[in-house]
């Protein structure tokens, strides 16, 4: 099946279940939406849903008159945007040079081992998504990891494991 068909199928499947009102609310708040607003618009939709549901994006295009080609073009260019549902928590490990030399790989390995997922993947129970970033800008205290916008500097495999297990335990 081609990718396009896949999107179409999943769109059809989710169309009934997805609540479009948050997306429409955002459009209303930002109205009039012009092509200059595409990035903030997508950011807000992603904040609301945790990802960019293609059907929500399509409806927004219809509502605003923005060409879908343009909006999807933007959504696929930037790494911040994702069209797959994400986990409740997002763990981001830095792969930049400064973190790399301070053992960033070992932190990343620990995340992958503890959660059983790789870069860009989400756990089956939808609790964690893991991503890698080129630099988080806290390089002086490398290696750096970010969990849902909370920064952790001078990370060690041990502290990484403790942090993840604590969240797993708290929520189970």
């Amino acid at each position: 099946m081609s990718q396009r068909q896949e999107v179409a199928v999943s769109t059809a499947q989710n169309a009934e279940s997805l609540d479009l009102s948050p997306a429409m609310g955002i459009v209303e708040e930002m109205s009039p939406v012009t092509s200059g607003d595409i990035i903030p618009l997508l950011q807000r939709i992603q904040d609301a849903y945790g990802y960019l549901p293609p059907e929500a994006v399509l409806s927004v295009c219809e509502e605003t008159g923005l060409p879908a080609s343009k909006v999807f073009g933007v959504a696929t260019f930037y790494s911040q945007f994702g069209m797959e549902p994400k986990g409740k928590h997002t763990v981001r490990c830095c792969k930049g040079t400064a973190c790399h030399v301070r053992g960033g790989n070992r932190v990343l390995d620990t995340v992958e081992k503890t959660l059983g997922i790789r870069d860009g993947e989400t756990t089956k129970d939808m609790r964690f998504t893991q991503e890698t970033v080129a630099c988080l800008g806290a390089c002086a205290l490398a290696p750096v990891m970010v969990m849902d916008n909370t920064y952790y500097g001078k990370m060690t495999p041990r502290r990484t494991e403790l942090l993840l297990k604590e969240i797993l335990k708290e929520e189970s």
């Binding site: 012009t34 903030p40 260019f77 930037y78 800008g137 806290a138 390089c139 002086a140 920064y151």
Partner: protein, 520 residues
Amino acid sequence: MPTTKVYVPRETTAVSVGAHEVALGIERHAQATGESVQIIRNGSWGASWLEPLVEVEVGGTRIAYGNVAPADVPTLFESGFLQGGEHPRRLGPTQGIPYLANQDRWSFLRCGAIDPGSVEDFKDHKGFTGFEKALAEGPEFVLEAVLKSGLRGRGGAAFPTGIKWRTVADAESDQKYITCNADEGDSGTFSDRILMEGDPMSLFEGMAIAGYAVGATKGYIYLRSEYPITYRILLEALDEVRDAGWLGRDIRGSGFDFDIDVHLGAGAYICGEETAMLESLEGKRGMIRYKPPLPAHEGLFGKPTVVNNVVTLASVPDIVNLGGEVYADYGVDQSKGTLAFQLAGNIKRGGLVEKAFGVTLRELIEDWGGGTASGRPVRAVQVGGPLGAYLTADQLDIPMDYEAFTAIGAIVGHGGIVVFDDTVDMAVQARFAMEFCAIESCGKCTPCRIGAVRGVEVIDRIVAGEDRELNLDLLAELCDTMEDASLCAMGGMTPFPVRSAVEHFPEDFGAGAGEERIHE
């Protein structure tokens, strides 16, 4: 009982090692003991290795306590730290910490010192005096001062700021823009962030002065989305500054209007390149534009636009206030003024060091950085971010100077310095540079889009020992093509780290294969 001022940074690195928890701990403990404290969430002084760096104001002097953990709070109180008492974490007066005392602070003068959210504190530290002087003396005065200062862009390309501003000032248009490049994507760099979190109002002041000088009424800050704390601090500070009447309509009765919006990026390194940033600000994919036209002629929405880095803009208020000559007294030859160097990687004391140009890498790495964190010898240093060349331990005495670095095929760039000890495998680093380019390429031109992918493959073959000589020649040729034929510096400069790694560290690419290598 008098209230004691306690400073606990709300800066990203400090927060990443527990500054919030420390602040909370101090507040609770003070409540419990009935002591009166005012906790000020300042920025960082830049000595990141000492974070969280807590300060207590005692008789007008700030006494520093370094690497404070939440668990230290009870003993700090027992030691009478509110009166500056002795404690294993006590470092003495902040101003006396050698790492900070020996710098040439210009752009980062207020960072750490002030409350970033307080207009009053900013003004107490000479904030807005440059802007006031600009309004009093006129645009021509500002343009002259910036030109005389010799200030060059701190974002990487080092273009003379005065010339850029003059071009925009001379352009005829109903609308012009000031855009601040706060994308700071280079790994190993964080000076823009430290400035915005510690002294955001100096950036706004610099932008307003720029707007006044060139005739622009609207400014944009393009901030990378990876900086959530910075974003909040910027928005809060903007509100304060607007409320105080230093931004908005008819600023302080001058008749000059200027306001600033903050736009968040969406995770694309290439959007740090100025034309890609403008595309992104316009809501498009961050694809590089052909030049000409220069942004100074046709920039944002086709209008004449100043694009400057955060630190460039924040250097301007004091240049206007004190005079371009005073700034130009710092530095060497064509590299005037100061640069905020950022120490990271395998280094004992990572952080920000603002020094006049002319300081050597060795001084920065040894005197400030304290050498490698591992205690092993330095083998390589990457200066200027992921597109910067690797230097060897023999090149550490070259002064920090744009031209001196160009002469050895390197760049100073945004001032990031990442140190590697003798365990580094430079073939891995070279591969990383190519891979980074392959991932971050905007895809507009072939040498970069395809070349970087091929580059990774060629390096893999070299490392695997497949037709080594042949593949090394191929890599050299590929680097030449990327450098000559890429549309922008992404593809054009990726050869810098790759070539320097191959040239300076041939043994990591299988030269003398069979000999034992120390760095496995």
